[in-house]
Symmetry: C2
DNA sequence: TCGGTAAACGAATGACATTCGCTATTGACA
DNA sequence: TGTCAATAGCGAATGTCATTCGTTTACCGA
């Protein structure tokens, strides 16, 4: 047939983008800089990716999945419903959403600047929500599906909120995100569960 | 001294910006379009505002304050701790954050694209948080200052999260933001309060 | 070895926010 | 009432991007 796309070039572009997004954020990173850092030309980047935003998602997706899997593993290793939930909330909001590597800043900037025509699939969002539901179910098996859904949604909203605030880094106001408040979210569920069957671990 | 800035021109710029931001969002609105719509020149806009983002804040600030004052009045007119809190959460998340006039989209886009050098004062954020604290205190006088602070912070995070999601208008997933979950946040506080003194209104 | 496809590239293009150099107004003061 | 200096207002740059175009190779199957 013809010449084939090189997996190496693709990876070089992703690596360069990852580094630059981390250093300067999505908006301040130029295609030109990505190309230079990946040792290729600006225009060749478009052979591998349709747009700048597509690169952002290609970088963010695996990062986010890895973080979530790590979190799930931590939560799984924690004992006790309350401790599990606390680990989940803290890990999600203080760990992932507020991470200092700049990945969530990239996500927020990409989402905020996305044109309506950039349609990005909600696959990652759905996947993340499912991980949260599973974690909640693991921590409190007695919870209802509705409860898990509502809590997962609330957490995702807070996730986005924390990520957005990252960009203001005004230092003021923002110490740790108020995960404390979110622990209250789970309290009724925990109370109800432990009332039925005493804590086992 | 010299020639003075005209309040009319300033207002014309703000009005034009307000309309255009509402129609197309912050990013898709150009200074050139604002100037044209305000019947002045592109460069003259910079006599009145230092940057595009400054215009965005000048438009958003009064809009947000008006919405919050309206909300506070609604909450004040509601009777009963639980009903007050529900009115507050629903009004804030479903009403203001998810509004269809595009103002919060403007805020999110402006914040996400703000350069670190654009320093925007956190006056509005502080003011909004204070309104929330006051509303919570009004609804549940027995609450502690720490509780009110944590809940206000959680609500502001959710506010930003909802505002950010607006831009994805994927229709899917997002029906109403899951305010239901947030009502749980307040339950322990309400229970504690009503245990001490029976509901009065 | 040959031919065609598509990767790769350098040079446009087209949008923008923001700045520059100049002109025209105007408000305080003589 | 006239003068003049500060500055509103303007049209034309500037500079920075993402994205596209026209060519030129390099590769793969035959």
């Amino acid at each position: 047939m013809a010449r084939q796309k090189s997996e190496q070039v693709r990876q070089a572009i992703l690596d360069a983008a990852h580094t630059l997004f981390t250093e300067k954020g999505y908006i301040a990173t130029t295609i030109s800089a990505i190309a230079r850092s990946a040792n290729t030309s600006q225009s060749n980047v478009y052979v591998y990716f349709a747009s700048k935003i597509e690169i952002a998602f290609a970088v963010f997706d695996p990062w986010m999945r890895a973080k979530m899997i790590e979190l799930e593993s931590n939560v799984g290793a924690t004992r006790g419903a309350e401790a599990k939930l606390e680990a989940m909330v803290t890990g999600l909001l203080n760990g992932i959403a507020a991470d200092h590597s700049g990945q969530t800043l990239t996500l927020v900037q990409a989402l905020a600047t996305a044109k309506p025509t950039d349609n990005y699939s909600s696959t990652l969002l759905n996947w993340t929500m499912e991980r949260l539901r599973v974690m909640i179910a693991d921590a409190v098996p007695a919870s209802t599906a509705d409860e898990r859904e509502a809590l997962a949604q609330a957490l995702m909203l807070a996730f986005d909120g924390v990520a957005l605030r990252q960009n203001l880094r005004r230092g003021e106001i923002q110490g740790e995100p108020s995960t404390a408040a979110f622990h209250h979210l789970f309290q009724p569920m925990i109370d109800r569960a432990t009332a039925k069957e005493p804590a086992r671990t």
